[in-house]
């Protein structure tokens, strides 16, 4: 352990003779740690961007037809004359909020940033198996992101057909949709490169002694996620090509005969099926939602194990459940399509698989709940976010049940109930897990700790506001208020009773924005001013803490290659002097 206690600056090994330029070191780096940081910063910016798009929408929803304050004047005349948002613009914002959040913020954060940085460290690998591919995957992602951002400035603006891009609306939409498709092809390609790398790394580069059942749960989560990305993304890529052809070459993959748009008969030869797009889209997009949640569960499991000072309860059950979850996620997709006209047999099939897939989530959550018992629970910031995750994910998951039964979905489909359901899993769920992960691994990345005080000032208001945003949405949904309404349901009689909630939600969203200030300050301040830490400030057991300094060695991560002797969470082992036994502690010797 002594090598690790030295100050990180002295730790940089001199064995690397070739001089690295700024470009190869920070921009076109092949070091997984640098790439991880690149991913993190880029996707955090996109997270903020996606949030800002939503804040503009929330203004319009609360005060339909009123000029947007502060930034309204900056918007172009074509989108918001006099600062008043047009419906076309609202739809662009909606589609891009969904797309940016899912594909350019959350997945890159969970997989690109956390996966890239932490996974090789946790398995004792010097780097990813294919460093060049890793670099390529970041730059392809960045290109895709750039294409999406540029799309806001093309004639007609960005894509405006929802993140789901249902044909024929998307096929007949403005040029932004073409950019969306091209951007998606880049983002998908990036994910494919990444997933090949992650799986190969996990399987091939595990340290000696690190058998599969000794992998930290986080690594399992990343491994299964990578399989989902690998196998579910290509169909959307194929569908993207088809939609691109429908748009630019007038093919009719998704276009039926005799369409009349705005009084004009469309030139398509016909014979296509709008439902085909939906099948291919949801074939990806349902596994995709587990891509959003599995790594989040992985982060939370690490943080919880560390802060209860005891092993996770039911680790094996969690692993098997995750595998089962991953496999099942490929055969539930049509629960998004119950209202497209489904016969009894097919709907029964998809309802049944949907109910079945809820069981592994219940098992994983139960295991985490049961883990708490008998622990010695520390309430630091990462732990607070993780504990909140459990409850928030619980609410989001439970509200998936009435949606999963086709008969109850009749009333709830495409209402704010659905918006409430999935935001509970992705926003207070996944985003909270991401916050937990940032607070937890920040010391490893920078060698400095983030402020606990600011962390708590970040946590409590965030928890409060985010619930004030999404809880009322269930009520709006029960009232039957549709989603994607430019005026927030203003003209519908059945929405009148819940219209007031729109204002409350929007105010809470601005509150949530303010609640992020302590985080942003903390984040940048701690990089320079945070308290310096040694290798293992949390007294954790997994390899990234016990075998590598903070930050890890620039090339190769570890001063010496670790050899693993035990499972990932040997906390409070009876008879040991410390309450944590490193994964690489020699057998039969005290940690």
């Amino acid at each position: 352990m002594s090598v690790l206690e030295k100050h990180p600056d002295e730790e940089q090994p001199e064995e690397h003779h070739h001089h690295e330029s700024f470009w190869t070191k920070y921009v076109f780096s092949q070091d997984h740690k640098v790439i991880g940081i690149q991913y993190a910063l880029t996707s955090l910016v996109f997270l903020m961007f996606g949030f800002i798009l939503m804040l503009m929408m929330r203004w319009q929803l609360a005060f339909p037809g009123r000029a947007i304050p502060i930034i309204g004047g900056l918007l172009s005349e074509a989108n918001a004359p006099g600062g008043i948002m047009l419906p076309e613009f609202y739809n662009q914002l909606g589609a891009m909020h969904g797309t940016i959040m899912v594909f350019m913020a959350i997945v890159p954060l969970l997989v690109g940033a956390f996966g890239n940085y932490v996974l090789p460290l946790q398995i004792g690998a010097p780097d990813m198996a294919f460093p060049k591919l890793n670099m390529a995957s970041y730059w392809v992602y960045a290109t895709g992101g750039l294409v999406m951002v540029i799309s806001f400035f093309v004639p007609g603006g960005a894509a405006n057909s929802g993140w789901t891009s249902y044909a024929p609306l998307s096929v007949t939409a403005t040029m932004g949709q073409t950019f969306w498709l091209v951007g998606m092809v880049f983002l998908i390609t990036s994910s494919l490169l990444g997933s090949v790398n992650f799986i190969t790394t996990t399987i091939q580069l595990r340290a000696k002694g690190l058998s599969f059942m000794r992998l930290p749960f986080f690594v399992w989560a990343q491994l299964i996620t990578s399989f989902l990305l690998l196998l579910a993304f290509p169909p959307l890529e194929a569908a993207g090509f088809m939609q691109l052809l429908d748009r630019v070459a007038e093919t009719s993959f998704f276009m039926p005969e005799g369409l009349v748009v705005s009084g004009e008969v469309q030139p398509y030869a016909g014979g296509g099926s709008p439902l085909l797009w939906q099948h291919l889209f949801w074939f990806l997009a349902h596994p995709e939602v587990y891509v959003l949640i599995l790594p989040a569960m992985g982060i939370v499991a690490e943080v919880i194990a560390n802060n209860i000072r005891k092993p996770l309860w039911g680790y094996k059950a969690m692993v098997y459940s995750s595998i089962f979850l991953g496999a099942m996620s490929f055969i539930v997709w049509a629960h998004h399509m119950f209202m497209t006209g489904m016969g009894t047999t097919i709907s029964a099939f998809f309802q049944t698989t949907t109910m079945i897939i809820s069981v592994p989530s219940v098992v994983i959550l139960t295991a985490l709940f049961m883990s708490l018992k008998g622990g010695s629970i520390r309430f630091n910031t990462p732990m607070l976010f993780s504990l909140a995750f459990l409850i928030m994910f619980g609410i989001g998951g439970l509200t998936g049940l009435p949606l999963g039964l086709s008969a109850t979905d009749i009333h709830l489909h495409d209402t704010y109930y659905v918006i409430g359901h999935f935001h509970y899993v992705v926003a207070p769920g996944t985003i909270f897990a991401i916050f937990a992960g940032i607070y937890y691994w920040f010391p490893k990345v920078t060698g400095r700790r983030m402020s606990e005080t600011l962390g708590k000032i970040h946590f409590w208001p965030s928890l409060f506001f985010i619930n004030c945003i999404f809880m009322p949405m269930f009520i709006q949904g029960l009232a039957g208020m549709s989603r994607r309404l430019y005026d927030g349901g203003d003209q519908y009689a059945h929405a009148q009773s819940v219209l007031g909630l729109n204002k409350m939600i929007s105010y809470s969203a601005y509150g949530l924005l303010l609640a992020q200030l302590p985080f942003i300050i903390n984040f940048f301040l701690s990089m320079k001013k945070g308290a310096k830490v040694g290798a293992n400030p949390w007294q954790a057991t997994t390899l990234e803490w016990v075998a590598a300094p903070s930050p890890p060695v620039a090339h190769g991560n570890f001063p010496e290659i670790p050899v693993v002797t035990r499972g990932p969470y040997d906390y409070s082992v009876p008879g040991e002097s410390e309450d944590f036994t490193p994964q690489n502690a020699p057998l039969g010797q005290e940690g």
């Binding site: 294919f130 009719s252 993959f253």
Partner: protein
């Protein structure tokens, strides 16, 4: 610190990294083409009328192309076998043959496409042609991609044979796996599009 198992096999999995990597990549390719085949099945089942491929497409040309492609598959494995026998010259010859086959395939494809376009037939004509152009076009892109890679390993990439012959051999093996997969896709494309 070097990344382990770039050349040697990891004892417990019996694989070197790139081998696993390429198979994973091919798995994703299976799903990519799978989606297109799925679309073809769905569109064809839902269509009122779907032409018989042989009536619309040039079967003799496609048959020739099938031979060209399976010939190219055998030349790649021969190249790999030659490398394992340390016969670099022979391997180079086989790789050139593979490249030539790829080129031949694309030339024939271009002739096929050209005759369609000259008759005013485009992907927009109907869904039969739309699926035909999309599937063969995407497949053609894969062929071109393979050719680029072979060109690289015949040109600048060939230097590696002198420094790390084993690694070079592995690289040809993985490229070969990809190339066989492209061949395999064609083996299914050919009957489904041209013969049924």
């Amino acid at each position: 610190m070097e990344i382990p198992y770039t050349v040697a096999e990891r004892p417990d999995t019996g694989l070197y990294n790139a081998k696993l990597g390429i198979w994973l990549f091919l798995a994703s390719e299976v799903m990519l083409f799978g989606a297109l085949f799925s679309a073809l099945i769905l569109l064809r089942t839902g269509a009122d009328y779907w032409p018989h491929g042989a009536d619309k497409l040039n079967v003799p040309l496609a048959t020739v192309n099938t031979f060209v492609l399976i010939a190219s598959s055998v030349t790649v494995v021969m190249a790999w076998a030659s490398l394992r026998l340390k016969e670099f010259g022979k391997a180079k010859m086989y790789l050139w043959a593979t490249f030539a086959c790829g080129l031949g395939f694309m030339v024939i494809k271009a002739i096929e496409y050209g005759s369609k376009f000259s008759h005013g037939i485009t992907p927009a004509t109907d869904n039969f042609y739309a699926t035909y152009f999309l599937l063969t076009g995407l497949h053609g892109l894969h062929v071109v991609g393979g050719m680029v890679v072979f060109a690289y390993f015949l040109g600048p990439g060939a230097k590696m044979w002198r420094t790390e012959p084993e690694r070079y051999t592995n690289r040809i093996e993985t490229c070969g796996l990809y190339w066989h997969f492209v061949d395999l896709v064609w083996i299914f494309l050919f009957p489904t599009l041209y013969l049924l």
